[in-house]
């Protein structure tokens, strides 16, 4: 035992000291987001608000996004019930992703950087670092849970009960712990931190998509999903603590598994076998384009598969939509009046959501060039006859192509599956889906261009583009729930684009955003061509 965990407490305290700013940001960020929207929900609940929201969220499309509620009649739908219904899954997901990144950052990443090696040369146990990182995340999530609970209680709303508040906080904290253990296990299996992060986030994504399917078809199956154990606690309504217990058992088992895996491997190694490489490069590698394709290949393929699966998962919901309409007279009338079918309306909304996710990939590709630069991978290449323009435009080109293929897979996956599950009742064909997807292409280009602009002028801001993407996502995501003012909504680029097939195509907007994006890319190039390359020293 001593050999394994000696002095983990020193590392633990060291982590708290090193990370305190990040921890405060983390707890305040997720905490305020999770617990601070009560007044907004009180606003929505006024008048017929609760009943209207209840009906809206019965729509399978909405269930697939925000999750189910145990409430069966609109009359029982309280502010508390609505708050948990709309917020819990999303906030839990945030907490989970944050924990994944943090745990891998402190375990596998430090190992890759050679820091662990140095630490291990002192009187520190073999697995003390993993224990310390894990302990840190658990402590953070406990504080986060208490913070959220306290925040909810402070708002003093009748239906947001004491017990419910604690359960709500505990569910989000637990989501963080689940994320941490998934990260810790992947950190042992994968050969490097990047693949560990990628696969762990991929698992979280799959869990989210899987629960979208089971929530719509049969919510009991979501109980088998670790992500389900967060929102299925149903705070303020059923107040079910059982999923928390499942999650605790799951986490303990996963931690034991992770430590066993870590005990069985060498530092810096993983469980996936390393093959002997090539002595000579393939012809396809021998160019800037070939090199960049190779460097981005793993991540790109991972994301593309994700897009396809995501499209297919949402597509599978189309089969249930008519059944839902048959059972809900009010919604049926609503759709009959508006003149758009429920499928069309869903397509418009979900396509916007998917295209935000598709936009991540081009940003990743563009930011990769700066990552390569700051890791000094390019030092020796700068001294060859390769131009900066080649580096820049090859990257932009790959990013745009990745966006095009991503759109194809997401929209195609959605359409293909939707058409097959709707069988003869299909009112849309595949071209409608593809048109709805590529309609959002300007927004993908716009995010690519923002990343390119950052690359050229202020490469350290490359990550801020993700923040803006997240911001636009949240804005559009909550637009269907909250009624946001027009000007506020327009700060997200997607809001300018009409949602097909519900709305019709708007050529001037499409062209304008595309042109702005291309101009930004060119401006970015001007900066990239004249700035100092950043190289450690």
């Amino acid at each position: 035992m001593k050999e394994k965990f000696a002095r983990w407490d020193i590392l633990f305290l060291q982590y708290l000291k090193r990370d305190w700013k990040k921890i405060i940001f983390w707890i305040l960020g997720i905490g305020l987001f999770s617990g601070g929207f009560v007044p907004a929900f009180e606003e929505i609940a006024k008048g017929q608000g609760l009943i209207g929201m209840f009906e809206t969220l019965q729509n399978p499309a909405m269930v697939s996004m925000v999750g189910p509620t145990p409430v069966e009649t609109a009359a029982d739908y309280t502010i508390g019930a609505m708050y948990a219904h709309e917020m819990l899954l999303f906030c839990g997901l945030f907490a989970m992703i944050m924990a994944v990144l943090h745990v891998i950052g402190h375990t596998r990443k430090e190992e890759d950087l050679g820091l662990t090696e140095l630490v291990r040369s002192f009187q520190i146990g073999r697995q003390a670092n993993s224990l310390a990182a894990m302990a840190e995340v658990v402590v953070i999530n406990i504080i986060l849970a208490l913070f959220i609970s306290a925040l909810l209680i402070v708002f003093n709303v009748d239906t947001i009960s004491f017990q419910g508040s604690f359960l709500f906080g505990a569910s989000i904290g637990m989501a963080g712990v689940i994320g941490a253990v998934i990260g810790l296990v992947m950190a042992q299996i994968m050969p490097a931190s990047s693949s560990a992060t990628g696969s762990a986030l991929g698992i979280v994504g799959l869990l989210y998509i899987a629960r979208a399917g089971t929530d719509v078809s049969n919510v009991d199956f979501s109980m088998f999903n670790p992500l389900g154990w967060t929102y299925l606690t149903y705070p303020f309504t059923d107040n079910n603590w059982l999923p928390i217990i499942f999650a605790l058992i799951f986490s303990v088992v996963m931690v034991i598994l992770a430590f066993a895996l870590e005990g069985g491997r060498d530092i810096g190694a993983g469980y996936l076998p390393e093959r002997e490489g090539r002595e000579n490069a393939k012809r396809s590698l021998l160019s800037v384009r070939g090199l960049f394709i190779k460097l981005n290949r793993g991540v790109t393929i991972g994301w593309l598969i994700g897009f396809g699966v995501m499209g297919a998962a949402y597509g599978s919901i189309y089969g249930d939509m008519q059944t839902f309409l048959e059972s809900n007279e009010m919604m049926k009338q609503m759709f009959a009046q508006s003149g758009v079918s429920i499928e069309e309306s869903f397509t418009g909304t979900i396509m916007m959501v998917m295209m935000v996710l598709v936009s991540i990939l081009p940003i990743v590709v563009v930011n990769k060039l700066f990552a390569e630069e700051s890791r000094q991978h390019l030092s020796q290449l700068y001294a060859t006859k390769v131009t900066r323009g080649q580096f820049y435009w090859t990257t932009i080109g790959l990013a745009v192509i990745a966006g095009l293929i991503g759109t194809l897979l997401a929209a195609g996956g959605l359409g293909g599956t939707a058409i097959s599950v709707m069988e003869d009742s299909a009112a849309m064909d595949i071209s409608d889906f593809l048109a709805a997807g590529y309609n959002f292409l300007p927004s993908v280009l716009f995010f690519t261009a923002l990343a390119a602009l950052a690359l050229g002028w202020a490469p350290k801001l490359g990550k801020v583009v993700y923040a803006y993407l997240g911001y636009s996502f949240i804005l559009n995501y909550f637009d269907s729930i909250l009624d946001l003012p027009e000007w506020f909504l327009k700060t997200a680029v997607q809001s300018w684009i009409p949602q097909m097939p519900t709305d019709s195509f708007d050529a001037p907007v499409f062209i304008t955003i595309t042109v702005i994006s291309i101009v930004l890319m060119i401006v970015g190039y001007l900066g990239y061509n004249r700035r100092d390359m950043i190289e450690g020293a």
Binding site: E276, N280, A281, R375, Q376, S379, Q380, A383, T384
Partner: protein, 293 residues
């Protein structure tokens, strides 16, 4: 002599920090110039400015008579560069990376590559993330030495190499030197510079403080002399050009200004020389003198 590299009054600031305040030196055709200085003195910054990786604030910098920023690509066709810390893509093998570097440079020699891989004892089939510091350095060196260039820029090229490999590197550099190529060699390993360099440039705090051939530099400094005489050696203490005089019986050790060496010898013979040893200053002595004095 044609000038391959010509730098005059080069300046560079990073924010408020003046990294280079006045860098002036040149590298002639077929010449090996040793570029020495402690960490943070501005060696790598100078080299990056030469490569057009960073943009200078003031001064002139030319390679092959062309501006290093405006005509960087023209210049890059004919130079090879090895950074002090070769960072590689972990997922590619050493062999793949060497091929890539050679291709991007253009005009590589496949046979030379295979020969160098053997000489440096590199396993080219291994993914580079498994390489040690020294092995990564070998990848950079092999790639740079396998292509034909007119100017080779090495920034602490042998850091992390074992002494055997260091020797291999020095032999290979001597070969390119014999072939009439120019080399700018920045290094901490002064014996390496002493062995290879025709001229030495010393940089301190972003400024060139000394440059010249090793002999010229030596001339400016003192040799360490050990002298034993029949008569009382203490008379030597007052002779011009003698410093740090220490006596034990009739044997003395002192440092002697090289320009007074003749006078010192004349005085010593009057005392009846039993033993006279003069050791010229090593580059290390020169170096230390600049940083301690």
């Amino acid at each position: 002599m044609t000038e391959i590299v010509k730098i005059k009054g080069l300046q560079k600031k990073f924010g408020k920090f003046q990294a280079l305040s006045d860098v002036t030196f040149r590298v002639g055709a077929g010449e090996v110039v040793g570029f020495i200085g402690p960490n943070g003195a501005g060696k790598s910054t100078t080299i990056r400015a030469l490569l057009g990786i960073i943009k200078r604030d003031a001064g002139k910098a030319e390679i092959f008579g062309k501006d290093v920023w405006k005509d960087s690509l023209e210049i890059h066709k004919r130079i090879s560069y090895v950074p002090g810390d070769v960072a590689l893509w972990g997922s590619l093998t050493g062999g793949e990376i060497i091929d890539l570097f050679m291709k991007l440079h253009g005009g590589g020699d496949k046979q030379k590559r295979d020969y160098l891989i053997k000489r440096f004892e590199l396993d080219p089939k291994k993914k580079s993330k498994g390489y040690s510091k020294g092995n990564r350095q070998k990848v950079g060196l092999i790639a740079a030495l396998s292509v034909d260039s007119d100017l080779y820029i090495f920034d602490e090229p042998t850091s992390g190499l074992d002494p055997l490999m260091e020797a291999v590197f020095q032999e290979e550099v001597e070969k390119i030197k014999e072939a009439g190529k120019s080399i700018l060699l920045s290094s901490h390993i002064l014996s390496e510079v002493e062995r290879l360099a025709d001229r030495v440039v010393i940089i301190r705090q972003g400024e060139i403080v000394e440059s010249g051939t090793l002999d010229e530099l030596r001339h400016l400094t003192r040799s360490a002399v050990t002298l034993a005489t029949e008569k009382d050696v203490s008379k030597m203490e007052t002779v011009e050009g003698v410093h740090d005089f220490m006596q034990k019986d009739n044997q003395a050790t002192f440092s002697a200004d090289n320009k007074y060496i003749n006078d010192i010898l004349m005085e010593a013979t009057k005392l009846g020389v039993k033993k006279f040893e003069a050791v010229p200053p090593t580059l290390e002595d020169l170096f230390m003198r600049h940083y301690e004095g």
